[in-house]
């Protein structure tokens, strides 16, 4: 090989090396996260610079689709090589590479920030500033933002810099960030005297963030010294914050010393019936006699509201005494509770929660003290009151045997009213339920029992033609809510042979389906198509016209 050829080969090899190196230094535009892997804005290029090596290694691990334990173990070493400008660059890159909705934000950013904050608080704090400012312009933090990596890093900064966080919050008092910062400041200063933190909050501009912080502060104080916490809450300016903080503290106090909490409630002259009934309920769970004593000091409306809850707590300890007292004093054995409905800001959206329930001392008694409750029932003197309570017991029972025991003591009219409810307790014992329904004498109660059996899911049975079968079929119409198309329901209705039961079932089906506004057209079509007397249909056509 002559010298010229050697030159050419050498040039080709050199080119090969440069090409390979060049190619390997370029981002791979078609690879995953190509945009974040781009090397264009990385400072420096020296492979020997440990900062560069560390940054490359850290990025490689953190931006890779799937982490490995080895990669994580090596990340510690890579991070330790970085100076603060590289850490900032690393975090910028991670922020940019965060996955799009619906993926969650990358919480590793917050972890790395906390690590950096310990290592170089000044640089980390400086990097965080524009992010804190941006968060402060996002209004109330909603579900997603509260849990975001950004909120977590802002919280970490605030814990490490409480005074700076407080100053920032004071300059943005109406922001959601202020709420977050105040919470972290209180955590950071939790070893300070409560009065100092209270003074800090009272000096904070009036705002929702301050209101919430005051409530949380008093809740925290109640754990250690509830008496002082109530005094402090009562010293707040009049308004919902004072009322809410006082109520929460009194309830916490009642868990430890209900007598003292109730005494303070009375001494303060509060008139919050909802709070009062909760206080009494807590007392009744431990000392029913005293709860009743307190209850009797209240006005009739307060007694009517609070008493069912007290009895409900009392029956767990002494069912007979509690139920007896309730009957004597005209207290309801089953009652609805206050409806709860609340909207709140969720970022710049709103979310709602609602609820409401019922309290049933008789059902609680049958569950907690079944034998004592059944003995108490049997001992009731004959009469209308006994019939009423037996009927309630038959529907309140959760076990078939209890229900049957109460059912046996009912009048035939009452049996007809509760038989369907009792039958539903045989969900897990359908054969026994059918046997029970068959054992009843002919009449409304037996038909109601078969209707209840029909409503049980997965209890398809063939009965001989007759009223029992019709009642059973009518019961099957109660399965599956509104999931079955109306035409299918009508087909079932037409299997019922007894004209009166067929008509009643037809109307029952229409009552449920006619409320469905989303399928009004299908309802009308099914109504037109079904083969029943026109007179049956007219009422429902009239109703459609009215609501059109």
């Amino acid at each position: 090989m002559n010298a010229r050829a050697l030159f050419i080969v050498a040039a080709a090899l050199a080119g090969l090396a440069v090409g390979a190196r060049w190619s390997s230094e370029r981002p791979a535009p078609a690879s995953r996260d190509a945009e974040v892997n781009s090397a264009r804005d990385l400072p420096g290029s020296g492979a020997s610079d440990p900062n560069e090596t560390g940054l490359g290694a850290a990025l490689s691990e953190l931006l890779h689709a799937k982490s490995s334990l080895r990669g994580m173990a090596e990340l510690a070493g890579a991070l330790n090589q970085l100076d603060s400008p590289r850490v900032a660059l690393l975090l910028d890159r991670l922020e940019r590479a965060q996955p799009a909705w619906p993926e969650q934000s990358d919480e590793r950013i917050a972890w790395l920030f906390k690590w950096w904050l310990k290592r170089d608080p000044a640089a980390a704090g400086e990097w965080a500033q524009p992010r804190i400012a941006a968060l402060a312009l996002e209004g109330p933090l909603g579900f997603f933002l509260e849990r975001s990596a950004r909120a977590q890093l802002v919280a970490a900064w605030a814990r490490a810099n409480p005074q700076a966080a407080l100053d920032f919050a004071r300059s943005h008092p109406h922001s959601g960030a202020a709420r977050l910062l105040l919470k972290e400041v209180r955590t950071a200063w939790s070893d300070r005297p409560v009065q100092e933190n209270l003074a800090m909050l009272l000096d904070f501009p009036a705002s929702h963030a301050r209101d919430l912080a005051l409530e949380e502060l008093h809740n925290g104080c109640a754990v250690r010294d509830p008496a002082a916490a109530v005094t402090s809450a009562q010293a707040l300016p009049p308004g919902p914050v004072r009322a809410k903080a006082s109520a929460e503290v009194l309830l916490q106090w009642a868990d430890k010393d209900a007598a003292a909490a109730f005494a303070r409630y009375r001494a303060l002259g509060l008139t919050d019936s909802v709070l009062l009934s909760k206080l009494l309920e807590k007392r009744a769970a431990k000392d029913p006699a005293q709860a009743i004593e307190w209850l009797q000091q209240l006005d009739p409306a307060q007694i009517a509201r609070a008493a069912p809850k007290i009895v409900n707590a009392w029956v767990r300890r002494d069912a007979a005494a509690a139920l007896g007292w309730a009957l004597e004093n005209g207290i309801r054995l089953s009652a609805g509770e206050e409806m709860f409905f609340e909207l709140k800001h969720d970022g710049f959206r709103r979310s709602s929660s609602m609820g409401g329930g019922s309290v049933s001392p008789l059902a609680t008694a049958l569950e907690a003290q079944p034998e004592a409750t059944l003995r108490w029932l049997q001992a009731l003197p004959a009469g209308a009151e006994r019939d009423r309570v037996f009927e309630l017991a038959a529907t309140a029972a959760k076990k078939p045997d209890q229900a049957l025991s109460a059912f046996a003591g009912l009048t035939s009219e009452a049996q007809a009213r509760v038989a369907a409810t009792v039958a539903r307790l045989f969900e897990k014992e359908p054969a026994r339920g059918q046997q029970w329904a068959s054992s009843l004498p002919g009449g409304p109660a037996r038909l109601a029992a078969w209707t209840g059996i029909g409503a049980l899911s997965d209890a398809d049975i063939e009965l001989p033609p007759g009223l029992d079968r019709d009642a059973y079929i009518a019961g099957t119409l109660n399965r599956n809510g509104l999931a079955t198309p109306l035409a299918g329901r009508f087909a079932t209705v037409l299997k019922i042979q007894d004209p009166a039961m067929r008509r009643a079932s037809f109307d029952g089906v229409m009552e449920r389906y006619s409320y469905r506004k989303d399928s009004a057209e299908q309802t009308r079509e099914a109504l037109n198509a079904v083969s029943v007397p026109e007179a049956w249909k007219q009422r429902w056509r009239d109703q459609f016209e009215k609501t059109r």
């Binding site: 690879s31 995953r32 173990a73 990340l75």
Partner: protein, 586 residues
């Protein structure tokens, strides 16, 4: 001279050759590259497989549970690797004896990534040590260990490493209505590199819905390497999540691939996959999209869209907003809203003016009002005085009313009740679609944006003074004087001062507002005294509401006195007989 030319040509050829040698490894869709950062290429860290750990073992042998202690995930990773190095099959067998106590890492910040890496390393090592028993043991552990992040677990992680093994040995053939997460992951991983093999395994699931789930997993996998092929596999699917995966994978592969995918997909894309987040992450692709329809509503601005908008330079942001009409119609409103919100951080008035100019002033609930709504909300929560001055100065319109109504609760929450009531202007026009939802308002509680703001404002007024909320209710137009609004204040007021509520009802003018308030009063009173509440039923003038109030009394009465309730209903006057018969039948 000629020699120099040869040398030059050889050098250039070498460069090209060198690039050719290296690039396929990076660009090959089959290889998941982690080599694109230059520092790594120059001095790549050694990343041996977990089974060949070379780290020095700790002086004292730790248990795996001890290795996971402490709050530092990176230090824990090293300790777990050291444990794996010396672990034997017996160690894994013991761990599997009690699946509920199987080690489950949970580190703040590294929760999900650590769990996946941990499970992958353990599964890999376990399988190497006990090829015959490991899979069955892992199945038992996964069933009862309850790893905190789902989908996840040993088999799920193993599915990424050895998909064929998982599909052959542990993928069930569909006893349930869903594919196990490891089956899904295995199909996805395998499809990314060998579509035919994945499809062969997928033949196990022929019945719906499992067949569709297997198909989707395969499409997801193929999308990561070949979005166009994934699109062809998607066929005429209506599943927006399939297209979401495909378009995001295509966007990562560059404008050319994306344009091909967008053109091929056409209207199949729908409005969901091309979100504002997507446009803001890939503004260069905005004009490559088909003419997709706009969604009926824009529910605020997602944190992801804001993050993406934040990273767009002010000049680029200005350009995008100036070309508002050129943005694709589907994600346009949400994209502009996110950009305008970031702009509003520094220039709220200018951003608000821009948003107002691009909104539909005559339709308060229009989707294209998203920017106006979102900018105004941010402004009023950061500088209420300036925002209020701006709002007062703009001409009255349905848009202005909607902005004020939606923002009123934010002012009220800060204690500025008078100003909140000033800007609260619910539409009195009953012809508007009552189901329409104003931008920025999620209708979780149902009802229009105006209705939700009304309920919320009522709640905030009542927190300070329930009687004031009652007086305010009396001023509301019928469109928002609803049952839901009465729930915002009446139950709490009734609990504290029932007589005051009764007196207040008597002061209300005759009409629907009075009737809905009376019905809510009846509902509350019936809980304390059903018989007493029954006397109020006749005071409800509207026949339907009267029957509804009667039903509330009847059901409350029935809880405690079924026979008495029936007598009461039978004797009740002023209700329809057919309705009564229906009630008695229930």
């Amino acid at each position: 001279m000629r020699s120099l030319v040869f040398v030059g040509v050889a050098f250039v050829a070498g460069v090209v050759g060198g690039k050719w040698m290296v690039r396929p490894m990076i660009e090959s869709p089959m290889v998941e590259s982690r080599a694109a950062v230059p520092a790594i290429e120059v001095n790549p860290p050694a990343v041996p497989p977990a089974t060949t750990v070379s780290a020095a073992p700790p002086a004292q042998r730790q248990t795996i549970h001890e290795a996971l202690k402490g709050g530092d995930p990176l230090a824990c990773a090293a300790r777990v690797l050291a444990w794996l190095e010396t672990a034997d099959a017996e160690a894994f067998r013991k761990l599997a004896e009690n699946p509920e106590k199987f080690p489950k890492p949970h580190f703040s910040g590294f929760g999900r990534p650590f769990q996946d890496a941990f499970c992958a390393a353990l599964a890999d090592r376990w399988l190497a040590l006990d090829p015959d028993g490991a899979l069955a043991a892992m199945q038992r552990v996964d069933k009862d260990a309850h790893f905190p992040f789902g989908p996840g677990g040993l088999l799920y992680s193993l599915a990424s490493l050895q998909p064929e093994l998982v599909l052959e040995k542990v993928a069930e053939s569909g006893r349930k209505n869903f594919l196990e997460s490891h089956t899904n992951e295995a199909l996805k991983t395998l499809a990314a590199r060998d579509l035919k093999a994945a499809q062969r395994f997928a033949e196990k699931w022929r019945e719906p819905p499992l067949d569709q789930q297997a198909r989707k997993a395969i499409i997801d996998g193929v999308a990561t390497t070949d979005p166009l092929r994934a699109l062809a596999l998607a066929g005429d699917s209506k599943d927006p999540f399939i297209f979401f995966t495909i378009v995001n994978a295509a966007a990562k592969r560059g404008p050319l691939i994306f344009q091909q995918v967008a053109q091929a997909a056409g209207e199949r894309l729908g409005s969901y996959p091309i979100s504002p987040d997507f446009i803001l992450r890939h503004p260069e692709l905005a004009n490559l999209l088909p003419n997709l329809p706009a969604p009926p509503n824009v529910y605020g601005v997602s944190p992801g869209a804001l993050d993406a908008a934040e990273r767009i330079a002010p000049e680029e942001r200005a350009r995008l907003l100036a070309d508002y009409d050129a943005l694709p119609p589907g994600p346009r409103a949400g994209t502009a809203a996110a950009l305008a919100c970031v702009w509003a951080r520094t220039e709220p008035r200018a951003a608000a003016d821009w948003a107002l100019a691009h909104a539909k002033a005559d339709d308060g609930a229009h989707a294209e009002n998203a920017a106006a709504q979102q900018v105004f909300l941010r402004w009023i929560t950061s500088d209420a005085d300036a925002a209020l001055a701006w709002w007062r100065a703009i001409p009255a319109s349905p848009l202005r009313a909607a902005l004020g109504t939606n923002a009123s609760t934010y002012l009220a929450e800060e204690g500025r009740l008078d100003e909140a009531r000033e800007i609260f202007k619910p539409a009195a026009d009953a012809t508007k679609d009552p189901s329409a939802t104003a931008p920025g308002v999620m209708s979780m509680g149902g009802g229009s944006g105006d209705e939700q703001a009304t309920v919320h404002l009522g709640q905030l007024i009542a927190a300070r003074d329930p009687a004031a909320a009652g007086a305010w209710f009396a001023t509301l137009p019928p469109t928002v004087a609803t049952y839901q609004t009465t729930l915002a204040f009446l139950p709490k007021w009734y609990a504290r001062a029932p007589e005051a509520v009764a007196r207040w009802i008597e002061t209300l003018p005759v009409g629907m507002g009075r009737d809905v308030a009376t019905r809510t009063f009846v509902m509350e009173a019936a809980r304390i005294s059903p018989a007493g509440a029954g006397e109020w039923v006749a005071k409800v003038a509207d026949p339907d509401l009267r029957q509804s109030a009667a039903a509330m009394v009847y059901w409350e009465m029935r809880r405690d006195d079924p026979a008495g309730a029936i007598r009461w209903l039978v004797e009740l006057r002023g209700v329809d007989d057919a309705w009564r018969a229906g009630m008695l039948r229930r």
